[in-house]
Amino acid sequence: MKENNRRRVLGINGLTYRVNSHRILEGISFEIERGEFAGLIGPNGAGKTTLVKAIIGELEEYEGEIQVNGRIGYLPQYSEFSRDFPITTRQVAAMGIYKSKGFLRRLTTEDQKRLDELMKQVGIFELSERRVGTLSGGEYQRLMLVRALAAEPDLLILDEPEAGIDEMGKASFYRLVDNLKKSRNMAVLMISHDIGMVFDACDRIICLNKTLHCHKEVRSVSPEDLKKIFSTDFDYLIRSKDHFEREHSQ
């Protein structure tokens, strides 16, 4: 029991959230353990982003309980930003260590070295002094990943990280996240509309459509599980058919 608690980085129990009696989330309960790579999927309006907001503490007045054991690193949805903002890649990455430094504290040489290491790991070190506005979509997402990792998270939350990245870039991004997860022994919770990639990258799947429809290992998820949450025919949504054929022929 104690071992379970030590491994658990996120525990959600009976989470319900309504806006003016309109149901957004209802009775959500699940756990995520250290070392897990969980994919959160569901159609538009399923409550995925609301759930993440509740986890990272941006939502108030919900029912139920959310327990986070450790720090959270958060990679938000890609959004257009002011490309002429005078800020460098390194300065944005340093935002991730603000909390550990504290109010009004300057970065030390050690902090700069740590940022250098992270940028090298994620492959954007040579861009460290570039203005953020000159980065491509993929480079920007990698920077967001560095910023999230700089917080030394126990749980890394990725909100549609594939946005702004081309197909080749997506595969290498997910590989990178998987390697980082293993080397840092953290848990990853990823929201994505790219179901094929979710099935390839994650080891557990959380199906959400206002309520929790499934939370199981990726190999146990059937097309029927997904049909329950998506109103359209699942065949149109799944891209990685090979994965299903491979898993269900076994």
Binding site: P86, T88, R147
Partner: protein, 276 residues
């Protein structure tokens, strides 16, 4: 030019005016960066109109206009913060509502003044003859406060302006920075009223940063350049206005815009030459 310098030594009002204009440009130059990067250019206008309500109150009751204008601009700033954060109304909407409200209250109060009606054009368009020693001292203290705020909260201001939501997620005290910026902008506006006037003060809070943003690669250099651009425009504006015998506030505003045009086209030519 030599005549201007000679008159500077001769007339106290001119020395006061130049000193005030220089300090207004450094003060507004600093805050203009946050205003432009946060895309809340409307806020200067709003604070200035809010200050007008305070000025009208002072004229009606015969009290110090600095204090009442500071109070109304401060209430305006805190109200923006309150309504945008608590009730999720956009900053532009709140400013758009409060701006005419304060102006309307000011006009109503002015209508109660019996007999001699004070000339308010000086407050609307600026009047260097109105600058007093007290104004200079107020500007000195505000500049010291603003420099200290920017030096201490530099990283916080940068993160707040770049991405407030994520800055808050990573522990930056964004609410504190937000209110401090709103109050700082309002105080800058009140301090600038005699030089720029309620109508023109927005130019002081927008143009220097828009110009510096064209060439600055870092937030730090943007802040420094904004102050420098503000100082150049103020000094050349004051000298030009004296030379041509035209109002200094509007002349400074013209200089700010000419400076913007020069940097805009010069930067374009430089880029074309370097092929970027």
């Amino acid at each position: 030019m030599t005549e201007f310098i000679a008159d500077l030594f001769r007339y106290e009002f001119l020395r006061n005016a130049l000193l005030a204009a220089v300090m207004v440009s450094t003060l507004t130059g600093m805050f203009s960066n946050v205003v432009v990067l946060r895309k809340v250019e409307f806020i200067g206008d709003g604070a200035a109109h809010a200050a007008f309500g305070g000025i009208a109150f002072a004229l009606l009751f015969g009290v110090s206009y600095q204090l009442t204008a500071l109070i109304t601009a401060g209430v305006f700033a805190v109200s923006i913060g309150y309504f945008t954060r608590k009730r999720k109304i956009s900053e532009s909407s709140v400013i758009g509502m409060l701006l005419p409200l304060s102006m309307a209250l000011g006009i109503i109060m002015l209508s109660f003044i019996r007999g001699f009606t004070p000339d308010i054009t000086g407050f609307l368009f600026g009047n260097i003859l109105l600058v007093t020693r007290d104004d200079i001292w107020m500007l000195v203290f505000m500049n010291i406060g603003a420099v200290a705020f920017f030096a201490l909260f530099f990283r916080e201001l940068q993160y707040y302006a770049f991405d407030e939501r994520m800055a808050s997620h990573y522990g930056v005290p964004t609410t504190l920075v937000h209110y401090a910026v709103l109050i700082g902008v309002s105080m800058s506006v009140v301090a600038s009223v005699k030089i720029a006037g309620v109508i023109l003060v927005t130019a002081f809070l927008v143009t220097p940063a828009v110009t510096s943003k064209l060439v600055a690669g870092r937030f730090k250099s943007m802040v420094l350049l904004s102050v420098i651009f503000g100082l150049i425009a103020t000094t050349t504006g004051m000298v030009t206005s004296y030379w041509l015998d035209i109002p200094p506030g509007p002349t400074i505003v013209l200089m700010l815009f000419v400076q913007f045009l020069i940097v805009f086209f010069f930067e374009k030519i430089l880029r074309r030459q370097s092929g970027t």
